[in-house]
């Protein structure tokens, strides 16, 4: 799995060219093609009383076009290939469509800015995208939303392993980034119920066994020339992964995304969804391989 082509989704408000620049370290690995997409949602110009406002659509398209021309010039001059989509439609559908058409290896998107009620009833764009995308998705956090420096998000990723097929697929994804990643922290969060007993000996046994399994994955990374360290945390993954990211001075959290149904995600939530929506860290979600 290589990241040769990325799809950068922007409404310009939440993600700017500074975010694109911070991802250019990926050119040291295999990145050679950036595709920009701006989706103009119909409610921006289709007013119920006035009808369809073609002039407004043209204005929005051209504003996006001018911005993309500027961004593209900078990337073209570095020898990168660049493509642009400015489309009218529904964000998630258009992003999925473009990702398929372009066969991208990564989708980069900002955090959803829907209101609380809208979010509750229709779910966020991000949750919907995670559910539908067959491609890894990087939830980028804007500089104003995070206290950490994210000049190089791929520099020190923290990979949260729960032994699911998706989290093991994340290992495959990251091991090709030897020229970009300086160190990977591998973290497994064992929940209280995973502990095999209540005695100190038994708890330590769980830690030891988990750590051994993590060390096997560390070896995979080290064979690829990437430093890797194993860490075991006990508690609720919804809290502990973020704590681990802080402890390890991580620049990104990487998780396998779950294959739960939309209904379950919406009402019960999931750890990947929570990190995508709430973490201060850029969050890379790797979907399970399609059968």
């Amino acid at each position: 799995m290589k990241i040769q082509k990325l799809l950068f989704v922007t409404k310009f408000e939440e993600l700017g060219f500074d975010a694109v620049r911070s991802l250019l370290s990926l050119t040291k690995a295999d990145l050679n093609h950036v595709v920009f997409i701006n989706v103009i949602e119909r409610d921006r110009f289709a007013m119920s009383r006035v009808g369809y406002r073609k002039d407004e659509e043209i204005r929005l398209r051209e504003a996006a076009n001018i911005r993309f021309i500027d961004w593209s010039e900078s990337l073209f001059e570095q020898g990168l290939e660049v493509g642009v989509y400015i489309v009218v439609g529904t964000l998630v559908s258009e992003v999925i469509k473009a990702a398929k058409k372009e066969e991208t290896d990564l989708i980069v998107i900002g955090r959803s800015h829907k209101g609380v009620l809208e979010h509750l009833y229709s779910g966020s764009d991000v949750t919907e995208l995670l559910r539908r995308a067959a491609t890894p998705v990087l939830l980028y956090k804007h500089l104003s939303e995070t206290a950490i420096s994210i000049d190089k998000p791929f520099d020190r990723p923290l990979l949260a392993i729960d032994w699911s097929p998706a989290s093991l697929r994340a290992v495959e994804y990251l091991k090709g980034l030897g020229d970009v990643v300086s160190e990977i922290s591998l973290v497994h969060v064992a929940s209280e119920k995973d502990l095999k007993g209540t005695s100190a000996m038994e708890i330590q046994k769980t830690r030891k066994e988990t750590r051994q399994k993590l060390e096997e994955i560390c070896t995979i990374f080290e064979t690829e020339g990437i430093d890797a360290r194993a860490h075991v945390y006990i508690g609720d993954p919804d809290d502990e992964i973020e704590k681990a990211a802080r402890d390890c001075q991580a620049t990104m959290i990487v998780l396998g995304s779950s294959a739960k149904s939309a209904w379950v995600e919406k009402w019960l939530g999931s750890t990947p969804q929570k990190y995508a929506e709430e973490s201060i860290y850029p969050t890379l979600l790797i979907p399970p391989a399609k059968v």
């Binding site: 010039e73 570095q78 473009a98």
Partner: protein, 130 residues
């Protein structure tokens, strides 16, 4: 039948504009919406001239131009670049690609920055095909 001119541009309005100019001057227009589709049509139709945009989905005009100029059977097809991307950027990107191990390729003879007046485009087409 007039000479064949392929317009490669993802913007349907620009394609319509160029096709109208071409038809008014007696040329036979063909259309493609991106570089990949453009290359396929070039190989199939061997047009006399290509009007090429730069910033497009699937494959940019920068890569398509490079493919044309490094292909023995296609390199002599005339190309007019018609783009919002500055000529300086086009040349710098070709230079960067050459430095990354690509072949050195000639500069495009005609580079028009969008938007362009119909008579300017018509004159450029006539000059390129003369």
């Amino acid at each position: 039948m007039g000479k064949t001119v392929l317009v490669v541009d993802d913007d349907p309005d620009v394609r319509l504009f160029s096709v109208t100019v071409l038809e008014e001057h007696g040329y036979t227009p063909l259309e493609a919406a991106n570089g990949e589709e453009g290359l396929k049509m070039i190989k199939e139709n061997k047009p006399d001239l290509i009007i090429l945009d730069v910033l497009m989905p699937r494959q940019s005009g920068i890569r398509l131009y490079r493919e044309l100029k490094t292909d023995k059977s296609l390199k002599n097809i005339q190309v007019i670049i018609l783009s919002g991307i500055a000529k300086k950027t086009f040349l710098r990107s070709q230079k960067a690609l050459t430095e990354f191990g690509g072949k050195e390729i000639p500069e495009p003879k005609t580079y028009l920055e969008k938007p362009v007046e119909p008579e300017v485009l018509a004159a450029a087409i006539e000059k390129a095909l003369s």
